[in-house]
Symmetry: C2
Subunit: 473 residues, 2 copies
């Protein structure tokens, strides 16, 4: 069981009628691919967030940009909300039909349309998942580095401006989307950007769409940057006497400009969850999990520098995982962190946080918040993409306990206030969705939110594109 | 003498009255810092483009965000255009008062406000120039890499989404601006972004403003990423038997993922202009001018790989410039290319092009366009940031010859059509301004331009922010 929306999010809810005529028109166009079956609607009416609201009135499975355009034209005509759906791995309530309407599932638009290996670009449909993409381009010696953990869809990753473990070196979706095809609220199909690596030709509509969470248009095609697979890759784990020592090591690595590809922090209790879930024997101490990409000599040089820094901070048991199998084992454990945590307290739900702060404030932010979490008595997961100043608590609550939920929400709120006071952001990579509407208001301020709302109203005058997300309107 | 606007740009001109009451109000507030002297207005009413239009009605020298806000409030009230002015180095007519109004000079807002060395960020006022910035942060061992050649203002570089020689490694203004303070059309001061390295918190207003050419707001503060000065830097020149050999070498470097910091192409005739202007003795053949950043071992490894690739393409006379003095001499020659070209034909003006194409099409695009330029009989400058697929012709025309101007514009138009047909962009880094309004329309298409116009109308309903630029309105 999950909870209904907390009261401060109620303004986002304005349940709207979905007229039978619209459903009929959609069924006429899409046949079986327009479903009103409760099971299908319920599956599309939730995500990894912990809220429940009524499911969408119908689910349409689109197979082309033209079909997406048809759905939007019809819904625009009827002023009915459209919620784009990719892999369903969103964490912040992005997929919830808080104002009713149609879930537009693009997961069947899953073709890799063209790989331009010479240009290091690939163009895909939005339903392609990141693992599928890497599988399909592997033969070319290229890879797409953005890795949020979950096997998210590329469209969804654009919509939430996702990042993850490799962002410290390769950037986020912000830096790696070159061009988009987008369908507007009224069903018009347009392109933003080109395959050129850079451009100063007009407003940056690509980056306006990236991170807009389906509220400004539906993404139907994505051109991405890809990278040559590194000649050499090496991963290492290193245990530390304290959280602070691990974080200070990270800060020093970044400040020295060492081009580390991944640097993940995992706290001691979370390492224990990994060991339990993935049958590993990692030392149950604060840990950095690192990866180095480059030429063989370059990787060795980076690793030696990092080892030296770590030792200066009391880092021990610097262990190498040079073989692909060992590396995969470690990263699989990292990616399964969420499930390992859930399993550690059967029946629990995780309330996830996502702040990101300037790296000079990372140790303070993390330590103060860890102390608070410990004092609360709630069990929690704690890990982070610390090279970017981004980390996540997952407070493991009993979903039936209003007290535990309230405690978790209070911890999250304190953490966000702390991050904002340190010139950080409430969301490093998960997006705003429903959950962070209030936090975004605090972070951006009224004038910036007004500007966002003005853009939304102009591009979606009937407020049909994923309404009730990012801000209330 | 320069030319009046060509006929296709006339729709951008809608001369508006600047009421005496507004000038009086500005004089009352700013005293001597509001000038109506013809010399001052004329100096602010032109840029490095080759158009002439009447100068602005007055020039206001603002010294704070609050003052910028005052100017905008007043101009908003009177529906009078405001044209932000930084260093005056724009190439595309951005600074021209095509609809009359006030030039808002922010060059006196030139303080480096805070350097956060630990976070690799710096916050500056918009009038700080890039050379000034690097001078002021040098003591910290950090540098700001974006280098468009001209000593542009940071505000202007944001406004045009500038890049330049280092972009192949460090990205452009798009990737390196973290946060902005912006004053809106009605005078409201707001902030976009934070000092966190990444964020998924709401619409990316920062990147909407970057590249908006003063049409959506006036930038009054900029937070930038800075980088540790590389431990080792090495520069090299290499001559090639043909343009094609030089370009194919570049393509191979990029496709191999070698993290070269700069790779500039210069054609033979342009090398001759360098030699003449900067008293150098470079071989007058197609040339690559390269720079490598990293650890001493890393730089050596990169350079060896590149040398091997170049030799495979017939590259000769690979010459090193390891000392800072030699490097400075070479890069100064590169940066003075424009002046070297102008000097090569006394009294001429340069019509500059700025296409950027996917790198697999670079050789074709460059070779076909070079042949066309040669066939035209016009002398020209030709060089490029080829690692990004971006290059510039500067057609050197007699400004009094309508024929030569027409020939240059035809060459530019053919070049842009060619780049667009190759999935490239009409503007890699100079922006749209006046000159490329038609090209942008071809590139982006009606639907995307309509979206840009809709955003403009919403954020600037009285069309006072640098009107007549990017698109007609």
């Amino acid at each position: 069981m999950t909870a209904a929306l907390p009261s401060h999010l109620l303004p986002a809810i304005k349940q709207r009628e979905t007229p039978a005529a619209l459903i009929e028109a959609l069924k006429a166009l899409f046949g079986d691919r327009c479903s009103t079956a409760l099971a299908v609607r319920e599956q599309h009416g939730r995500d990894e967030s912990s809220f429940t609201v009524p499911p969408p009135a119908a689910v349409v499975f689109a197979q082309s940009s033209a079909e997406v355009s048809q759905v939007l034209s019809l819904c625009h005509e009827h002023s009915v909300p459209v919620i784009p759906y990719g892999a369903g791995s969103s964490l912040e309530g992005h997929l919830l039909a808080v104002q009713g309407g149609i879930s537009l599932d693009v997961s069947r638009m899953n073709q890799v349309l063209s790989l331009n290996a010479d240009d290091l670009t690939v163009t895909v449909q939005p339903g392609v998942s990141r693992k599928q993409l890497n599988e399909e381009i592997k033969h070319s010696g290229l890879f797409f580095p953005i890795d949020p953990g979950a096997d998210a869809s590329i469209g969804g990753m654009c919509a939430t401006r996702a990042s993850g473990t490799n962002a410290v070196r390769y950037g986020t979706m912000r830096e790696n989307v070159l061009a988009l095809e987008v369908v507007t609220a009224s069903g018009q199909i347009l392109r933003t950007g080109t395959r050129a690596r850079k451009s100063s030709a007009g407003y940056d509509l690509t980056r306006l769409m990236v991170g807009s969470e389906g509220t400004l248009g539906v993404i139907t095609e994505v051109t991405l940057r890809v990278y040559p697979l590194p000649e050499a890759i090496s991963a290492a784990v290193c245990s530390f006497p304290s959280i602070e020592a691990a974080v200070r090591t990270t800060i020093e690595i970044i400040q020295m400009g060492i081009p580390i590809a991944r640097v993940e922090f995992i706290d001691a209790a979370t390492v224990a969850m990994f060991n339990q879930h993935s049958k590993l024997t990692l030392r149950e101490e604060p840990m950095l999990l690192m990866e180095f990409h480059g030429s063989p000599a370059g990787v060795q040089e980076q690793a030696e520098l990092v080892q030296e820094i770590a030792q200066g901070r009391g880092g021990q048991a610097f262990e190498w995982a040079a073989s692909p199998e060992e590396r995969t084992r470690l990263w699989t454990a990292r990616h399964n962190a969420y499930f390992a945590a859930i399993q550690s307290r059967p029946g629990c739900r995780a309330i996830s946080t996502d702040v990101c702060v300037p790296i000079s404030r990372l140790a303070d932010c993390l330590l103060e918040s860890a102390q608070e979490a410990q004092d609360s008595g709630l069990p929690y997961l704690l890990l982070g993409h610390v090279g970017d100043g981004n980390f996540h608590f997952g407070y493991l609550i009993d979903p039936d306990s209003a007290d535990e939920r309230a405690t978790a929400e209070q911890l999250n709120e304190k953490l966000v206030r702390r991050a904002l006071s340190m010139d950080g952001t409430c969301s490093g990579e998960h997006g705003v969705g429903m959950h962070k509407i209030g936090f975004l208001q605090s972070e951006a301020g009224d004038a910036a939110i007004d500007m966002m709302r003005a853009i939304k109203r102009t591009l979606d005058p009937r407020n049909i594109l994923n309404p009730g997300k990012i801000f209330t309107l």
